[in-house]
Symmetry: C2
Subunit: 218 residues, 2 copies
């Protein structure tokens, strides 16, 4: 069976995966780019068009970042990752943050209570808008992925829901040593999560710690 994977998902020391006040010009709210600073130095994120002010690095941050694509046949993302709108779609002109040629290059299932027609982009990305619980969303995603793996792309609520439903096999969390104080908590409702995973920690000279969660086999 194909795996369900999370990659490059940053959380603060106090467990927030996004700050307060997420909006169009601040996708991470008051956290700004602090949660993703480590990634802007990597070749992987530069190739995705993320700007950075230093030479792109091939160090440990890039080694982890680069694993996000291989073997992935579909992404599932929450509505909050797709865009800043909430509620019914006032404007179907919004096509995500990623321009005409999004980085995904696979089908992408967008979880929303307000379905709309699928959206075919350049380069192989098609957004499918689906109103479904995690189990049935995963079923629909697997049908689009063939034998390949499924990535849960975020945001915080989406990752937490799939963890609650015990559907995640592999999870790469980037612990960023900052205290955000407010925002969306990743770990809420997940008491005892560690019993289901082996967890490996690798620090980076950039200051973050890469945590890899691998589901324990029964």
């Amino acid at each position: 069976m194909s795996l369900v994977r999370v990659h490059n998902f940053s959380v603060s020391l106090d467990g927030f995966g996004a700050g307060e006040g997420q909006q169009l010009d601040a996708p991470f709210g008051h956290a700004g780019m602090r949660l993703m600073q480590w990634a802007t130095g990597t070749r992987t994120f530069r190739e995705m068009g993320v700007p950075g002010d230093s030479e792109a690095s091939l160090g440990v941050d890039d080694a982890f970042a680069s694993t996000w694509r291989a073997g992935i046949g579909v992404e599932i993302m929450g509505r909050n990752k797709f865009g800043p709108q909430r509620g019914p779609w006032d404007d179907e002109e919004w096509k995500g943050w990623w321009g005409d040629d999004p980085v995904f290059r696979t089908p992408v299932v967008v979880l929303t209570h307000h379905p709309r027609p699928k959206l075919e982009m350049e380069g192989g990305t098609t957004f499918h808008f689906v109103d479904a619980d995690p189990v049935s969303a995963l079923e629909q995603a697997r049908a689009l992925a063939g034998d390949l793996d499924v990535r849960i792309g975020g945001g915080v609520a989406a990752v937490r829901q799939f963890l609650e439903a015990d559907l995640i096999d592999h999870m790469h969390i980037v612990l960023v040593p900052i205290v955000l104080g407010r925002g969306e908590r990743l770990w809420d409702g997940l008491e005892g999560l560690e019993e289901r995973f082996d967890i490996e920690a690798t620090p980076s000279p950039s200051g973050v710690v890469h945590l890899v969660f691998t589901r324990r086999t029964a």
Copy 2:
């Protein structure tokens, strides 16, 4: 000026330094020994009388654990670390968790709203019961420490108060990869803490990550 230091202070992935329901037979509440498991393998904690079921280790966990004593002239601890009682002292027979010959071997300032006479123990430990805010408690502790450093020994509320008051110079936090779900949060009210510290991360084969916070010089 002598330093104010925190050592061997464990927190969970979700930021709890103790679980819910702390009491006489469960000093960490529902967390049990999970937050301190890493320490029970070290020679330093064995020498303090903490039982363990394996050969004592001199690896990275012990290297960090062992730094708690050198150069320390006094400890400040919260009432909750001293004992499970709350409110007025019904029973002054309680002399802490540590037996007749406590591990500290220095003066120990116990923060409490209910002062009682000082308590001289064997081996150099004397408990002083003091009703004071962090600044004035630190002043009293420094008077007892001579030129030596001050350790903030916990519990969670004590460490958080000294961080809020910006009185900590060095802090060794042990990030334990568990999700406790409930208990006492260390990081609450400390938004932006990272701006005051350089932070270094070292993983251990035991699974924990040692975080060392060093106050930035102005």
